[in-house]
Assembly symmetry: C2
Homo-oligomer: 495 residues x 2
């Protein structure tokens, strides 16, 4: 008998479909909606959220979950019931008027942030950002009570289920014990070498687009179930059966758009590979942002910035853009794509200095959430930490604490997943290569099947059936750790 | 006290927002969705419909409407309550399992139709089309009981509220008393004249697109609240604050894409001009398909195929496409755009022969709905009527009874609105010109403000505050009739 469980499945299916509708409307909003559509769109999205919330808060949900506990369920059904509960705790912990207040404050603050960033006006943003912070703390407290965690961990749990800050502290401490000296060494060594040759543009947008589409196909993207479009902020949106990725092009720079497309293709392949039988059930969703970021970074950083793949890509680029042989050689491209240099902007950072950007944001947001720092002191604290971790100081807040959308949009607890994802990517890629030593060689021919088959089986199809650590343990032999990332750093950037 | 009324407003608002979300998802599906997204999309759309249906069928709705009747409402609130009731009757007449069955059968039949049309296989489509017809009749009967109309009129009422078939019979009879002889005369006369010069292509798609965008701006389309995209079937979708129109381009033919864009822009201007204060209330919606089609045909047929507008457009086209002066003269363009020739395909028909296409579909669908004809006899009846009304006979069903998507998709009762809309367009344009004689002259300078201001005030902003006839009476001095259309025919095509 699985009567209660089946009822829950039907309810979560409906919530899942509503969320799908919201995802598609979100994509449209971010990618192609005219500005004047914003008001109506936010009404649509809010209404879908409210309906989803009403379904989640139906009075009989708790009883159904209790009854389902006693039913005879298989492993995936059990895991699904567990995920239902997790979603239910998150979805019911925060009173609906607070949810609505947050949604409004975040939209307001996000809009104000765009202007404040352009005007380099942190003070102007401060009251609105304070409101978002205060409401996030209030919601975090409610979730912390329900989850039995600290406030910060409750926020973190929204993006990376089961991850806790003490774990992050120790992982990041390991990174910090190793990265600063390593980074200096790499920079010194790269300085001593000849500079890589920059391919000379312009690189016509049409051609970049065509190359991007070809490489997406090579990775295995199925254009019957997705699209590539242009948007100001590249992202991966949509749903598993209709994945929408976006990029932006710069005629004078071919490197960022194409690597951006490959990065988003990694996200897309994860979504596509989620188990078809569990669509719109909690257990069928991606495991969380650490795992999601691991899949984009695995494709971009591990696979596509490897000398093997660049051996394949060089001639493809040369054929598309023409120009000098020297610029398109695998070794030159590899040096270009692995250049290390501390910079102010996170999204432009290389693989080696990126963790420092994340670590400082993690420290700062914890201090703000835990009340150890005032929001007004953020710019000073930011610049100080930037100097300490990366040896440079922003000349203004635009390139400092105003650069990211996360905090104004209420995404506190999100930043750590970028670097946890990079660590997971290194660990997963190493395991895939161990399991199938033919993977690097296949990449040098532009063949992703061996890699993608392994990922499909060991990561993508696992969805949320187990925790990130459990999936990693089964796939790689150990839970999330720093070792593989360190090895990757040494292999790619070391002597 | 307007307590019950306000409660109804809140409920209809929520339904309206859900419907908006569905509209945007529909646009995406028709314009840009990859095929593999269809299954998930139909789930999303079905779920939104089910939720809307559940809200409409809430047990307290009847009581709230009765209570609101006794409240003191202003004219628009009263009209809104009236429209709420109309929607409620339509929305609750048909049992939800029948609604679901219809939705499934229509989707199946629409998919089968695409193949059957390509394969010229009416017999293959027959069982699925029969299912759609039977279910439509069943639903029509339920609505007929609730509305107190005939079955056909109940279906018609979905697309053109308050329109009835006896009215259509007498309007179409007037047309038929005049059109056949008139058409023959026009064709004879045009045969005797020199043929218009065809501008020589190719007409690059980019250039066509740029010209289309410029003309949309001239008409008054606000790109902050809408987009122009490419799709296989041109249409106007989206919502008033985010209108999405589409077109298709042919490098060898510049006439159809640009006139198509102007046609859809007419639809879009109506949507944009609906009263902002009544968004997502039934009274704030477009009045129906007759009025909607009147607005597209007014822009395309009345305004943009006039010699005045073509005086402006000729030089615009010449500048964009280059080529021979003779081809781009206003008089040549006008002759080109008013060429009359009976053809097999409705969507390619000229203004003079178009009504015959509609009249025959109206007769045939009534016979099918009223049980006077078997579906298996449709191809024969079609060809016979085509020969009788237009003097030509299709050589296959592909260009005969399989050409339109309406019946396979369950849209019985829709066809008459095309020709009713053409009549309304003539009537409205004549009234606008009478009210502001400067309109034609302005069009010859590419200025649409005088026309659009009059339409905004007299048609667009009136939304569903009154019936089509009442709005027409106030705007033009009389209810829907054939006179203005006849006058237009004589002025444009007569001696």
């Amino acid at each position: 008998m699985t009567e209660a469980y089946k009822k829950l499945e039907a309810r979560f299916h409906r919530m899942g479909v509503l969320s799908d509708a919201g995802q598609m409307l979100h994509w449209d909003m971010a990618a192609i909606m005219p500005e004047g559509g914003a008001e109506a769109r936010s009404e649509q999205l809010a209404t879908l959220s409210v309906l989803e919330n009403e379904l989640m808060n139906a009075p009989e949900m708790g009883d159904l979950m209790a009854a389902a506990e006693d039913e005879s369920l298989d492993a995936w059904q059990k895991a699904n019931l567990g995920e239902m509960k997790r979603n239910w705790v998150h979805g019911t912990a925060v009173p609906s008027d607070l949810v609505e207040k947050m949604s409004r404050a975040e939209t307001r603050c996000e809009v104000a942030w765009r202007k404040a960033r352009a005007d380099n006006d942190f003070k102007g943003l401060l009251p609105k950002l304070q409101e978002v912070l205060d409401l996030s703390i209030e919601a975090g407290k409610a979730k912390a009570d329900a989850l039995g965690t600290s406030v910060y961990d409750a926020l973190l749990d929204q993006y990376d289920p089961m991850m806790r800050s003490d774990r992050i502290d120790s992982l990041f401490a390991e990174l910090e014990a190793f990265l600063p000296d390593f980074t200096s060494e790499v920079i010194e060594r790269q300085k001593a070498e000849a500079k890589p040759v920059l391919p000379v543009g312009p690189f016509p947008i049409e051609t970049q687009n065509a190359v991007g589409l070809d490489l997406m196909k090579a990775v295995g993207f199925d254009f019957n179930h997705g699209r590539l479009d242009i948007s100001h902020h590249p992202f991966c949106g949509g749903i598993p059966d209709d994945v929408r990725i976006t990029t932006r092009y710069d005629e004078n720079d071919f490197t960022s758009a194409i690597m951006g497309v490959l990065h988003e293709t990694g996200h897309a392949m994860y979504e596509r590979g989620l188990p078809k039988d569990w669509r719109n059930q909690p257990v069928g969703k991606a495991r969380g942002m650490t795992m999601h970021e691991s899949q984009s970074l695995l494709v971009e950083m591990q696979a596509c910035r490897s000398e093997e793949f660049l051996t394949y890509a060089g001639p493809v680029f040369k054929k598309a853009f023409g120009g000098d042989d020297a610029a398109w050689s695998a070794s030159n491209l590899h040096r270009l794509y692995t250049r290390v240099e501390p910079g102010l902007i996170r999204v432009d950072a290389d693989e080696v200095t990126y963790p420092a950007h994340v670590i400082m944001r993690y420290r700062l947001e914890r201090a703000l959430i835990e009340g150890d720092m005032k929001l007004a002191d953020l710019p000073g604290a930011w610049n100080e930490m930037m100097q300490k971790l990366l040896g440079i100081t922003p000349t203004d807040d635009r390139d400092g604490c105003l650069q990211d959308i996360h905090w104004p949009s209420g995404a506190w607890g999100y930043f750590p997943t970028y670097t946890l994802g990079a660590m997971a990517a290194a660990q997963i890629f190493a395991a895939a290569r161990d399991a199938n030593p033919a993977i690097p060689d296949a990449l040098s021919r532009g063949e992703f099947e061996p890699l993608m088959n392994w990922l499909a089986q060991n990561i993508h199809s696992q969805a949320s059936s187990r925790s990130t650590d459990e999936i990693l343990k089964d796939a790689t032999g150990s839970i999330l750790g720093v070792d593989a990332f360190k090895t990757h750093m040494h292999n790619r950037y070391g002597n």
